[in-house]
């Protein structure tokens, strides 16, 4: 239940932010239905909204989507599904469904599968319903700055990254990348300062 409320809030924030950044209601809804990965969705509207090219928007969103592939690697041997069921399983393989499933691991494989499917499908439904609500709401607002929506987007990103800052190394990386992106913004074309930070992460990940 608490997962659902949080997901709903993210969904409203995404729908509203998408429209505030120039996407149509339909495009916002398609992103939630088809991309269905919060961080990637916020990234694509964020980069386009900041004036970045479609390529840099897609690249940033896709780099954030790589972790879903790794979740799939963890889940596939545990789910053992084929055909259409595998397509559905892949689509609902996200932070929440994988997290809940792994949390159920001590209670056996059936509890794990149940956790994965209930969470994945539940989040999918909530996320999409609330995206529509957020997008329509923002469309009705007019000047989104008067409602603080321009600040809701960075706050949403901050809310996504905050739980990942578990140690000093992670915090230093976050602050470093934020400063780097700001410093490069007047120099590089929009979108590139963001993608460039992924290479910092890759270099550090290889060395560590």
């Amino acid at each position: 239940m608490s997962v659902s409320i949080t997901v709903g809030a993210y969904g409203v924030a995404f729908g509203a932010a998408a429209v505030a950044n120039g996407f149509s209601v339909i495009q916002a809804c398609l992103l939630s239905l088809l991309t269905f990965s919060g961080a990637s969705q916020f990234a694509v509207i964020g980069v386009v909204g900041a004036g970045g090219s479609a390529i840099s928007a897609i690249a940033t969103a896709s780099l954030l989507g790589v972790r879903n592939a790794l979740y799939g690697v963890i889940m596939a041997p545990r789910l053992q599904v084929k055909g259409l069921k595998r397509v559905v399983a892949a689509q609902v393989t996200i932070d929440e469904s994988t997290g809940v499933a792994l949390g159920q691991e001590p209670r056996g494989i059936d509890a794990m599968r149940k956790g994965f499917w209930y969470t994945g499908i539940g989040v999918f439904v909530f996320w999409n319903l609330f995206t529509v609500a957020g997008a329509l709401g923002a469309q009705a607002m007019g000047d989104v700055r008067a409602f603080g929506l321009d600040s809701a987007v960075p706050a949403a990103f901050l809310g996504l990254v905050w739980p990942r800052l578990t140690g000093n190394f992670e915090r230093a990386l976050a602050v470093g990348c934020a400063i780097f992106a700001i410093a490069m913004t007047p120099i590089l074309p929009a979108g590139l300062p963001i993608i460039a930070t992924a290479f910092i992460a890759i270099a550090l990940g290889l060395k560590r």
Binding site: I58, L70, R145, G148, R164, E170, C177, I194
Partner: protein, 102 residues
């Protein structure tokens, strides 16, 4: 086709291919510890950069406006372990207040 459609469709197609590939490739391909390391760090880097750029830029110009106040409000909310809806609301309300009344 507009940039919005290209971004919407491109992101969606790649997002699904990434998810499906995880369910289909042999486990050892992606379970290397270096890949796990990089995977933990990439979201931190990209999301932090997005926070900064979304807070302090307009197109390719640096700009400090009501969003700075919104960001500070969000940070304070997070320090006090507020749930996500409160974090976003505090940012929106404080930023809207500055925009409308200052």
């Amino acid at each position: 086709m507009t940039i919005f459609w290209i971004a919407t469709i491109g992101t969606s197609v790649i997002a699904f291919l990434l998810k499906y590939s995880g369910h289909s490739v042999p486990e050892r391909w992606l379970s290397h510890p270096k890949i796990q390391n990089i995977n933990a760090l990439i979201p931190i880097a990209l999301l932090s950069a997005l926070v900064a750029v979304q807070s302090f830029s307009e197109k390719s110009q640096l700009m400090f406006d009501q969003r700075l106040v919104g960001l500070l409000a969000a940070i304070i909310a997070l320090i006090f372990k507020a749930p996500f809806p409160i974090v976003v609301l505090s940012a929106a309300v404080s930023s809207a207040a500055v925009y409308n009344w200052l």
